[in-house]
């Protein structure tokens, strides 16, 4: 629940009836249906929830959110971020989504992704493409799951 709602809130997306229905469907595949725990012991704690299918559902949910943002919504999200360099774009997205503090390995992987194929802050379409992909990947990091 926190993962799904949190992602919408942090991306400044409005929680409409449509997004809530989509979120509800995603939560069911994560094994976290609101007010309907998987058994009478309640919702799983620790790492019990972190089965492969639940994690993939999370990541695919984040993918759906990142790639269904309108161009206008991406522009609004990036309005307060310095997108001139890949490093500053990453820092801004991490702040927007948390703030999230990444370990060296995750940070390096995300930076390499943003820089792959060449990064230009003046190319708006490319910045948007990379921002969407980075949002998806940040939401798939272990640091984000544990934040």
């Amino acid at each position: 629940m926190e993962y799904g709602i949190g992602l919408y809130q942090r991306l400044r997306m409005p929680l409409t009836s449509q997004t809530l229905r989509a979120l509800s469907a995603a939560l069911s595949t994560m094994g976290q249906v609101p007010l309907n725990p998987p058994d009478v012991a309640g919702y799983p704690e620790g790492l019990e929830w972190a089965g492969t299918s639940n994690l993939l559902s999370r990541y695919n949910g984040a993918y759906t959110v990142a790639y269904t943002l309108s161009s206008t919504q991406v522009s609004q999200l990036l309005a307060s971020i310095d997108v001139s360099r890949a490093e500053t774009l990453l820092d801004g997205l991490l702040y927007q989504l948390g703030p999230i503090e990444l370990g060296d390995a995750s940070h390096a992987a995300l930076l390499a992704y943003l820089q792959s194929g060449g990064y230009s802050g003046r190319n708006t379409a490319r910045v948007h493409t990379k921002a969407r992909g980075a949002l998806h990947l940040i939401a798939a990091t272990p640091e984000y799951q544990l934040n």
Partner: protein, 410 residues
């Protein structure tokens, strides 16, 4: 946008050569195994089905000839004429279990009566932990009997053990191995964009993130292990599903679909050795007659279809299905048309290699322990038989003790 699975496979250990018998008829496959020189074949598979919630064993394997049965269950007792008789015995199967009954008649179903352990625990969670860890004495230990078995394998692939359910049951928990949980294959993907360059860049980043060195923190490292298991299994799962369209029409219910996936994964020869499936809830405190009829219909049909699939798909000689529940129900029915948490219950083993028939004594319906059946067979004896005689594992090491094995396999 499309669903593109991660294109990556990581073998935990090198795969050994797999024995293949091809598409032999069931009888011939059994004969082929009879020629084995001793140790079980390395491609054998165990499918463990949990009847979740505590299945009423008394109305599943029914002691219809015992007058105490009808006396204890004035509204729930199933009439003798409706019971599916098991040869010349005085017990039979619930009328909904026609599919399983047919396989029993062919000698491919073993029913172990009165399975349990001393001092039964009637909490679902505690009882599950006991069966999952194979330890009534220490059910809080972190590993399960199947997970320990998998870790003892000389070769281990990502899909050596898989849970065809949303969560990994503790039975599959291991120290150094994270089995994937695959409740259904359609959404078992890692989505990436259709643009090939972008897709490759995202996959490379995911590879680097998930494949980073452990941090020495339990939660962080546990997530990485699950991430890696996911990365390594998505491609195989999708390929297995795409590669094998069974001619058998499985039911659309969750159990039927899980058994269908089991058949697809086994058929794909991915090194699968242990699969877990859960069906239920069998927690029939009220309205049991209707609930149990529906549950056992789906259960029996799912097993029947899986066995048909195994024969037509040529892997019948490789599979045994073990069916268990965390406890049976009390002998007497309650005032809500149901039954409450009890103690011992039957286990089922189904497969071409199984020695069919009834094993162990059916517990007395009158010599009770506070209204509950006394156990006649310790569940660890069944586990030891399956581990040693079917999978070829060292049962004593995995179970932490020696248990008398039952003659459950031909």
């Amino acid at each position: 946008m499309s669903n593109i699975e991660l294109n990556r496979r990581r073998f935990l250990q090198s795969m050994g050569a797999l024995t293949a018998y091809g598409s032999l008829p069931l009888g011939l496959a059994r004969h082929a195994h009879a020629q084995d020189s001793g140790s079980p074949a390395t491609d054998r598979v165990l499918v463990v089905v949990h009847l979740d919630g505590g299945c009423d064993g008394i109305n599943t394997v029914i002691p219809f000839a015992d007058p105490a049965y009808a006396a204890a269950r004035p509204t729930l007792a199933i009439a003798s004429a409706e019971v599916l008789k098991l040869d010349a015995t005085d017990v039979g199967l619930h009328p909904a279990m026609t599919g399983l009954h047919a396989w029993y008649s062919q000698g491919h179903v073993a029913i172990v009566n009165g399975v349990g352990y001393p001092d039964f625990n009637q909490s679902h969670f505690s009882a599950e932990d006991i069966y999952w860890t194979a330890s009534p004495e220490n059910p809080n230990q972190p590993t399960g009997w199947l997970g320990r078995g998998l870790e003892a394998m000389p070769t281990l692939t990502t899909l050596s053990g898989a849970c065809l359910q949303s969560r990994v049951p503790k039975s599959m928990a291991a120290v150094s191995y994270t089995p994937p949980a695959i409740p259904e294959p359609d959404s078992y993907l890692f989505q990436t964009p259709t643009n090939a360059t972008e897709r490759a860049a995202q996959l490379a980043a995911a590879e680097a993130i998930f494949g980073q060195a452990p941090a020495g923190e339990v939660l962080f490292d546990g997530l990485l292990a699950a991430d890696i298991a996911a990365m390594d299994s998505v491609e195989d799962v999708q390929a297995a599903v795409a590669a094998y369209a069974s001619p058998v029409a499985y039911g659309d219910d969750d159990f039927g679909q899980a058994m269908k996936l089991a058949g697809q994964l086994i058929h794909a020869d991915l090194g699968v050795r242990v699969l877990t499936v859960s069906q239920g809830s069998y927690d029939t405190h009220a309205n049991q007659a209707v609930m149990l009829d529906g549950l056992l219909t789906a259960f029996s049909d799912g097993i029947d279809k899986f066995m048909q699939d195994a024969v037509t798909g040529g892997f019948a000689h490789r599979v045994t299905v073990l069916v268990w529940t965390e406890f049976g129900r009390r002998v007497a029915e309650n005032a809500s048309g149901g039954t409450d948490h009890g103690s011992s219950a039957p286990m089922f083993l189904i497969g071409a290699g199984v020695r069919g028939g009834l094993h162990g004594n059916y517990p007395s319906l009158t010599d009770l322990d506070n209204g509950n059946l006394r156990m006649t067979t310790d569940f660890r004896g069944v586990y030891a038989s399956v581990l040693q005689d079917w999978l070829g594992y060292d049962a004593d090491t995995i179970l932490g003790g020696t248990w008398t094995r039952l003659p459950l396999f031909a």
